[in-house]
């Protein structure tokens, strides 16, 4: 009993301790010329949808809610963001070759259509990021239009 109590206290100290481990936050206020919404001239409603549902992990600027700043939550998030940006970064979309723009667009559309993105664990916590059927229809229509024009 006494030992257990000591261990619990130790663990609490560790939990408090890891809060002080420096974490790199994915934030930037720079609006790049290569930004997806900029090069394709996205209307405001599409812009808002992308920003709320996609940009947290697929851009250089994550909107961190307070709970995501508590460890180990922030580490989980960091992992997702790194993976997400590696796969697709909306801020630098203009840097992709024409071939890759097409294939990225194809993937974006099919991920949204099949409810693969935004991923379930993220949408569970960020309720506003979840795309409704109307949102999905609107955004895929707009994306498909860009894709047609790229051909």
């Amino acid at each position: 009993m006494k030992i257990l109590k000591k261990i619990v206290i130790l663990l609490i100290i560790v939990l408090i301790g890891i809060q002080f481990v420096p974490t790199t936050y994915n934030t930037s206020n720079e609006v790049l010329e290569t930004d997806f919404t900029k090069i394709y001239n996205a209307p405001q409603n599409i812009k808002n949808l992308l920003k709320t549902s996609c940009y947290d992990c697929h851009s250089n600027n994550t909107n961190y809610p307070w709970y995501s700043k508590i460890q180990p939550g922030a580490w989980f998030m960091e992992n997702h963001i790194n993976e997400g940006k590696e796969e697709l970064n909306f801020n630098t979309f203009g840097e992709y070759s024409g071939r890759r723009k097409k294939s990225k667009l194809k993937s974006i559309i099919s991920q949204i259509r099949d409810d693969e993105m935004p991923i379930a664990s993220y949408a569970l916590v960020h309720r506003d990021a979840k795309l409704s059927e109307e949102d999905k229809a609107m955004i895929t229509k707009w994306l498909n239009n860009i894709r047609e024009n790229l051909k």
Binding site: M1, L4, K5, I7, V8, L11, I12, V14, L15, I18, Q71, P72, W75, F76, E78, N79, N82, S97, G98, R99, R100, K102, S103, K106, S107, S110, L150, K151
Partner: protein, 229 residues
């Protein structure tokens, strides 16, 4: 006592997970670094291979550069899919390993074989890292790199995805490999087939139609557009 135990295990679990996840991050970074190093080493290896004149396509390479000088291989991506393949296909064995891996994926998808397709994806990554880029001229190199980047991405996804995703990435990959053949040629006899439902082309080594996009569900759907070689 019981309560304390539960609290204790929850806390322990949390700390363990956070440790694991931070380790995973580091391991990943290390992985990427390693990969990049290997790539660089491969490049060096290729240059070396080449300097001893082992490459047996010298004649064709000359022909290819000639084609290029009259502007046949401009870098217009948008037009690349519509190029007349039969007219521009050179005999080139250098692309064989890449095409073989593509056909492995194609045949696995025809057979609804997810693991076989994943294996083909790894084969393709290997084939690209074995490819001798030093034989390419500047214009070819630029287009080759674009095709390579895209095909590599598709192959990586085919390695790790369920079969319906594999098939989606195979659509893009088919365009990539087809464009690669247009750019560099092949010494294989291939057939360019068209899937009217997906509105995409795919390549096959056999004359009869075996559609890889739906597997057994729609095996004979499609038609042959062109014979290559």
């Amino acid at each position: 006592m019981k309560n304390l135990k539960t609290t204790f295990s929850i806390l322990l679990f949390t700390v363990l997970i956070s440790t694991v996840s931070s380790c995973k991050n580091d391991a990943k970074k290390a992985d990427t670094d390693g990969e990049m190093q290997t790539m660089e080493m491969n490049k060096e290896g290729m240059d070396h291979d080449n300097s001893d004149g082992h490459h047996d396509n010298d004649g064709e390479e000359a022909e290819m550069s000639h084609d290029n000088s009259d502007g046949h291989h401009d870098n217009d991506n948008a037009a690349s899919t519509d190029r007349d393949i039969a007219a521009s296909t050179q005999k080139n064995g250098a692309t064989s390993e890449i095409i073989d891996s593509y056909l492995q994926i194609k045949n696995a998808l025809v057979a609804d074989d997810k693991d076989g397709a994943a294996k083909g994806g790894s084969m393709m990554l290997m084939a690209f890292s074995n490819f001798d880029m030093s034989q390419l001229n500047e214009a070819q190199h630029k287009e080759y790199m674009e095709i390579y980047e895209s095909a590599k991405e598709q192959a990586e996804h085919i390695v790790k995805s369920p079969i319906d995703h594999q098939r989606e990435h195979f659509e893009t990959m088919s365009t990539d490999v087809n464009d690669l053949i247009t750019l560099l040629g092949t010494d294989k006899t291939l057939y360019l087939d068209y899937c009217p439902m997906k509105k995409v082309n795919w390549l096959s080594e056999t004359k009869d139609i075996k559609n890889p996009f739906y597997g057994s569900k729609m095996m004979t759907c499609g038609n042959m557009k062109k014979q290559i070689n």
